[in-house]
Subunit: 229 residues, 2 copies
DNA sequence: CCAAAAGTGTTTTGTGTACACCCATGT
DNA sequence: ACATGGGTGTACACAAAACACTTTTGG
C-alpha cells in the first residue's frame, strides 16, 4: 500500500499578496506594518501560510479576506519565490498573488487592525525579504494583463467616467495617453455601456458614466474577439 | 528567540517539467512512462520533489539534468498547481517548469532508463494527475514567450536554415506563416548572422545556414530594441 | 529537362499616432 | 463672461498581410 512519499522533504509554503488599488490618480498597493518578528515594524506584503486543506487560490482568498473583509476579489497567481534564505526564520517558499480591488471597498477596521496603509506604487517603502521583487513582478504582470484582458475595471467602481478609465491605464502603464485616441480605442472595443447618468463631481459640465458590459464582452470573446489596449 | 514557524503546516513540493523539443516538423514534448505507483505504466511529465537546500530553479535544473544529461537548459517557471487531491498518494503542491532543448542533444541511455519518449504535442497521450493542464499552460506560455523573446533558438541546432526557423514558429504557433513575410520580418530584426555554409540535406539547391547573434541582440536590447514576431 | 525546395519585392490594407477646437455649465 | 474639464474627427505614417515568379541543381 502506497500512501505517502515519506522520505521526501516537506517545506513551509507561504502565500503573499500584492493588493492593488486606484484612487483616481495613482496606482496604489496595500502594505502592512509587521507587528511580529522578524522585521517587526517594517513594511511588508500581507501573507500567510498555506494550510493542508487549502489550495493556493483558497489561501490567497483567505489572506485577502482577512485584510480587506472582501470576498471574490480578482486575483491571479504570480510566481513562486524560493531563495534558500529569503525568510531568515525558516526555509519558506512563497507563492505570490496579485489582487485588484476597488479602493473604496476596503474595511477601515481591518486596515487599522493590521496597521495597513495604501502606498503609491512609486513611493512605496522598502519591503522585507524579497517582497520588493514580488511587487515588481506584479506590476509587470498587471501591465501585461490589463493590456490584454478587461480586468482594469476591477480597480474602478461599477460606474466610472472615461477620464477615470484613462487615468487608470495611465497609472498602470506609467505613461500619458492621448485622450481622443484612448476614447476611440475604448469605443471601438464596444464593451462599455454609456449610462444616462453623469458624474457631476469633477466638472461643471459633468461627464457621462459608463459600465463594463461583461455579458457583451463574453459573447464577443466567444465569437473570436480579443481585448487589446 | 524566533527560529521556526513551528505550528504551521508543511507540505510536499514537487517540480514537474514540460520539456519541449523540435524535430524540424513538429513541436514535441518528452514524457516518461512511470515505472512506479501510483499510475504505474501511464505517461507523465518528468518530476521530482524539492529538497530542503534547493531553490525551485535548482530543483528544475536537477530534474532536467537527470532525464537529459544536459546542463544549462533554458527553462522558466510556469505556475503552481495545488488542487487538494491532485496527487492521490499525499497532498503535494507542484510547481511546473517548461524547458526548451535541442532535440538532438538528448542522451539515449537516459531516455531508455526512464522509458521516455518524444511525443508530438498534438498527439500526446493523456497524462496522469493534472499534467495535461500543465502542458496546456506551457504551450500558451511558450507561444507568448517565443513571440516576444528570441528563445525559439533554444529548440534549434546552433546553425539552422530560415526554413527550419519558420517551421519552428509554425509548429509553436500552430498556424502557417507566409514565407516572404516571415523572412522579411526576421531580417528586419537584424539579429541573425548569415553563414557562408549551406545545408544540402533538404534540397538540391541547398539553403543558407544562419546563427543567432546573441551579443548583437543584447546590444540592441540595451538600446531599446524589443524583439517581436 | 524536370522535380523540388530556395530565394526574392511590391502593393494593399489596417492600425497606431499626432493633433485642435467647440461644448456645457456654475460661478 | 469666463474658467474648467468634457467631448469630438481627420490626416499621416508605419506595420502587417497578400501575393507569384525565378533560381539552382541532382537525378
Amino acid at each position: 500500500m502506497l500512501n505517502s512519499y515519506s522520505k521526501e522533504d516537506k517545506v513551509l509554503l507561504a502565500v503573499d499578496c500584492i493588493i492593488f488599488g486606484f484612487d483616481n490618480e495613482e496606482l496604489k498597493i496595500l502594505l502592512i506594518k509587521r507587528d511580529f518578528k522578524p522585521e517587526k515594524g517594517k513594511w511588508s506584503l500581507m501573507g500567510g501560510f498555506l494550510k493542508q486543506n487549502e489550495t493556493l487560490d483558497d489561501s490567497a482568498n483567505r489572506i485577502l479576506h482577512t485584510l480587506t473583509g472582501i470576498n471574490n476579489i480578482y486575483m491571479e497567481q504570480l510566481y513562486g519565490f524560493s531563495k534558500i534564505d529569503r525568510d531568515p526564520v525558516e526555509r519558506t517558499i512563497s507563492v505570490a498573488y496579485y489582487a485588484l480591488i476597488n479602493i473604496e471597498e476596503h474595511n477601515e477596521e481591518l486596515i487599522e487592525k493590521y496597521s495597513a496603509r495604501w502606498f503609491n506604487v512609486k513611493e512605496a517603502p522598502k519591503l522585507i525579504f524579497d517582497h520588493d521583487q514580488m511587487v515588481n513582478h506584479a506590476i509587470r504582470r498587471l501591465r501585461y494583463r490589463t493590456s490584454n484582458k478587461p480586468i482594469g475595471f476591477e480597480l474602478l467602481p461599477e460606474k466610472f467616467t472615461m477620464r477615470q478609465l484613462q487615468k487608470l491605464y495611465e497609472a498602470i502603464l506609467d505613461e500619458e495617453l492621448d485622450k481622443r485616441n484612448f476614447i476611440n480605442k475604448i469605443n471601438s472595443l464596444d464593451i462599455l455601456v454609456k449610462l444616462k447618468e453623469k458624474d457631476m463631481t469633477s466638472s461643471r459640465k459633468g461627464s457621462y458614466l459608463y459600465r463594463f458590459d461583461k455579458d457583451k464582452y463574453d459573447k464577443k470573446v466567444e465569437d473570436g474577439f480579443t481585448f487589446k489596449i
